[in-house]
């Protein structure tokens, strides 16, 4: 009995070790995975590139970078090989097995973005299918709304897009972002009363403050306008000159000289303890955020453009 118990404990231990080894990918592998993706995506010959990218996607089917590989294959087929039908067929096959909502959203967005330039009617039809369908990725819908809101003849569809976007359950910050963009859309169509209702639901989201500030200023509600402008400039430091906040503030509160203090107070928030995360850097060194506890961190999200 005791030998059996020992065997069970030993085999359980081995299972735990094996399972943890399988599910936990060392984070510094990210660097090598993205380098492999870059190498595949930079093959000059499109046929070789597609072969390499397909091999990459097959080898890293559980890594987020697979989406970049799928997108690169679709773009290569559609643009360089002039095979739109083949690209769309490949896209449909990928979507049959892709279950991650964010990955599905990213792929659908890439398809829409491509069609927007290549075949506008198909892009609009695809947007309609997405808006009426079951996909629920926030970014996908946000980006669709951005495209649709810029075209007068698509205003009705843009509005349906915003309705769905606002119905997607997300955190307050991104909900406020969606409200801010929707408010901008309504304001641009001269529907300021509706815009105000939407923008006032955007809380302190800085970009909502720009439009709210401008509207309130024009309507003589200058103290409230300053509140909105302060929220805007506090979150977007470069915007102070754009809205001439120094001059406006001195008109509303002559001689006070406390604008900088108000902006500084407004900038400091407390959104709670962030979940921990481990990253690889460009040299393969790993960085766990919690290892810096006791020290302040400044993290800047950046894009290589």
């Amino acid at each position: 009995m005791s030998a059996l118990k020992s065997m069970l404990i030993l085999s359980t231990g081995i299972c735990v070790l094996l399972c943890s080894g399988c599910s936990e990918r060392p984070v510094n592998q990210d660097l090598y995975i993205y380098e492999e993706l870059d190498t595949a995506a930079q093959q000059e010959d499109p046929v070789t590139r597609i072969e390499r990218l397909k091999r990459f996607a097959a080898n890293h089917g559980d890594h987020p970078a697979r989406v970049n590989a799928f997108a690169s294959i679709i773009t290569t087929m559609a643009v360089e090989m002039n095979d739109l039908d083949g690209a769309l067929d490949y896209f449909n096959r990928v979507m049959e097995t892709e279950r991650d909502p964010a990955a599905r959203g990213e792929l659908l967005y890439r398809k829409f973005e491509y069609l927007w330039d290549a075949d506008r009617d198909r892009a609009v039809a695809l947007a309609g299918e997405i808006i009426d369908g079951q996909e629920s990725d926030y970014r996908l819908h946000l980006y669709l709304c951005y495209y649709l809101m810029g075209e007068d003849e698509l205003a009705g569809q843009a509005e349906r897009c915003f309705d769905k976007l606002l119905a997607i359950k997300i955190d307050p910050y991104r909900d406020a972002h969606a409200r801010s963009v929707y408010g901008e859309f309504l304001s641009g169509r001269g529907r300021m009363d509706e815009a105000l209702k939407i923008l006032e639901g955007a809380g302190d989201y800085p970009f909502a403050g720009e439009l709210l500030g401008s509207y309130r200023w024009e309507n003589g509600d200058r103290e409230k306008a300053m509140e909105a402008y302060i929220a805007y400039v506090a979150g977007v430091p470069g915007a102070g000159q754009k809205v001439k906040i120094d001059s406006l503030y001195s008109v509303v509160y002559p001689g006070r000289g406390d604008l900088e203090e108000k902006l500084a107070s407004r900038r400091v928030v407390d959104e709670g303890v962030l979940p921990d995360m481990e990253f690889s850097d460009l040299h393969g060194k790993t960085h766990r955020l919690s290892s810096h506890r006791g020290k302040k961190l400044v993290i800047s999200a950046w894009s290589p453009t």
């Binding site: 979150g235 303890v273 961190l297 993290i299 999200a301």
Partner: protein
């Protein structure tokens, strides 16, 4: 960012860049061209997008010593380092 990095010791913080695009070769070229010494984190799990909620790039996040998110700044400006320094002194 290099100018901000020079303030790390004086203001007691650590500066990172985070890139969610996953274009490591291009990113490395740009970093080398700019002679940047700021560590660049590869964000394969979309942490900046989903947890920090970066809606635009650049967006800068300031986290205090307890790991709490204390500020989010969109874009850059001439007085950016001054703004960041003010927040770091305040938290």
């Amino acid at each position: 960012m290099e100018e901000l990095k020079k303030l790390e010791t004086e203001l007691g913080f650590k500066l990172f860049l985070v890139d969610a695009k996953g274009m490591v070769k291009k990113t490395r070229e740009i970093m080398e061209e700019k002679k940047s010494t700021v560590p660049l984190l590869i964000d394969s799990q979309s942490y900046s997008r989903n947890t920090l909620k970066a809606m635009y790039t650049p967006t800068t996040f300031i986290i205090d010593g307890d790991g709490r998110l204390r500020a989010r700044l969109v874009g850059g400006s001439e007085d950016f380092n001054e703004v960041v320094s003010g927040i770091l002194r305040k938290i």
